[in-house]
Subunit: 251 residues, 2 copies
């Protein structure tokens, strides 16, 4: 269920290589999990191609709707790295060579190595605040509620952690997981009853096929630890009563 | 670059467990790669929560814009499986118990095992065409250009393959990859020049960090094999001239 008092965020993944299936995204799950711990709910993700029209349209839709928008990809030195220009266009800001970013690149590269292509990585919308990149120097940047980060997971994670302390969330969403060896269809009716007793608790049911056997992971999420524990205890009892060998999974 | 004669598709991934980071999506890359071979370009992906308003809004946006829309997740027997009802709502169709789907479930389950929860998996919008599920019987379904599939990768893949022969694409998008041990910033300028000579070829540059060394994968895509080979040869020569030890990667 959606809880409107949530602080919500969106992720915009930019890159043909993700859509083609060639590269498997590794950033969504990292950002989703980290945001949970910060009390921010990742409410929507979009993946778009390296196409200005698509990027600008998606960005404007997401930044109007969510408290925070994170983007990954498209801020490197090559011709297909068009994210900075797209963010500037979306905000109606001029794209400039950011003096701070240029200074960082000049300090990083050997004399003669900072060519025109690498200088593309110093471009930001006017007034953007830089996001530190301790891995490879070329910075990300923030404009209002939009955080523009690299696509390479190592670099994205370092950039995310450099901004994480500045993000303001609500209560962290806590979770409990009950693992059992019953198929979903056996627990479904009892689970719906428990959900109706605990409308504030998000109860999710996810089938698993461990060792060729049907099993189910029952995941409960809530910001209230006591209520969450009470609901999880009912789910555990339901599974036990059905002979489903329940186990509490720390994850 | 976008090529407007493309046959384009979108993927709508439905599920809190993906957004929370708990479950890593494994369907995007499978669908993206398979669609390429069918001459269909995956142009956009959205991930939304198990929330009716979010699902209906995303589905209506995507089905109006793309030739094909695939959805994954939310068609199981539990209370949080709300996809079928959302698809019906998006199309303004009644949600019915599909007689064909019910017959499949009745044939699959032992007497007494087909409970009310499992019967939820027989619900489709009125007039929907079923998508076969050779793994666990409970079918997916199609309404107009929207293909509704399970989220469990094994089942999703089987459902996708059962509809793949019916999908009508354009020319398959072919690709060549040149791997090199140069950082992107060294190849960027020459690469931009080659891109300008071959505007129809999509040329992408993706950094890699193999064995702690900066490297770059240069990926070229086109429907025209001759043009693609000519562009790839120029990229190979560029890298060789820069001393970048180019290798043609079959992927």
């Amino acid at each position: 269920m959606t809880r409107d008092e949530d602080v919500k965020a969106a992720l915009l993944i930019i890159g043909n290589e993700i859509l083609s299936g060639r590269t498997k995204d590794a950033n969504l799950s990292y950002i989703g999990e980290r945001l949970n711990t910060l009390g921010i709910r990742l409410a929507e993700v979009r993946v778009v191609a390296d196409d200005e029209v698509d990027i600008v349209e998606a960005l404007n839709a997401l930044r109007a709707r969510y408290s925070y928008v994170f983007t990954t990809g498209g801020i490197g030195p090559t011709h297909d790295d068009i994210t900075a220009g797209c963010i500037a266009k979306a905000f109606g800001l001029p794209l400039i060579e950011n003096p701070q970013a240029r200074a960082l690149l000049e300090a990083h590269y050997e004399p003669g190595q900072l060519n025109a292509a690498r200088l593309r990585m110093a471009r930001t919308p006017e007034g953007a605040e830089l996001i530190e990149n301790p891995v490879s120097t070329a910075p990300g940047f923030r404009v209002e509620n939009v955080y523009v980060m690299a696509g390479v997971p190592r670099i994205m994670q370092a950039m995310f952690e450099s901004v994480a302390p500045t993000l303001v969330g609500g209560k962290p969403l806590l979770s409990r997981t009950v693992v059992c060896d019953l198929p979903e269809g056996r627990v479904a009716e009892g689970l719906a009853r428990i959900q109706s007793h605990f409308p504030e608790v998000q109860i999710g049911s996810y089938p698993s096929f461990r060792a060729g056997n049907y099993g189910t992971n029952l995941v409960l999420r809530d910001t209230d630890d006591e209520r969450l524990s009470a609901a999880a205890a009912e789910v555990f009892k339901l599974v036990a009563d059905l002979g489903g060998n329940p186990m509490n999974d720390p994850h």
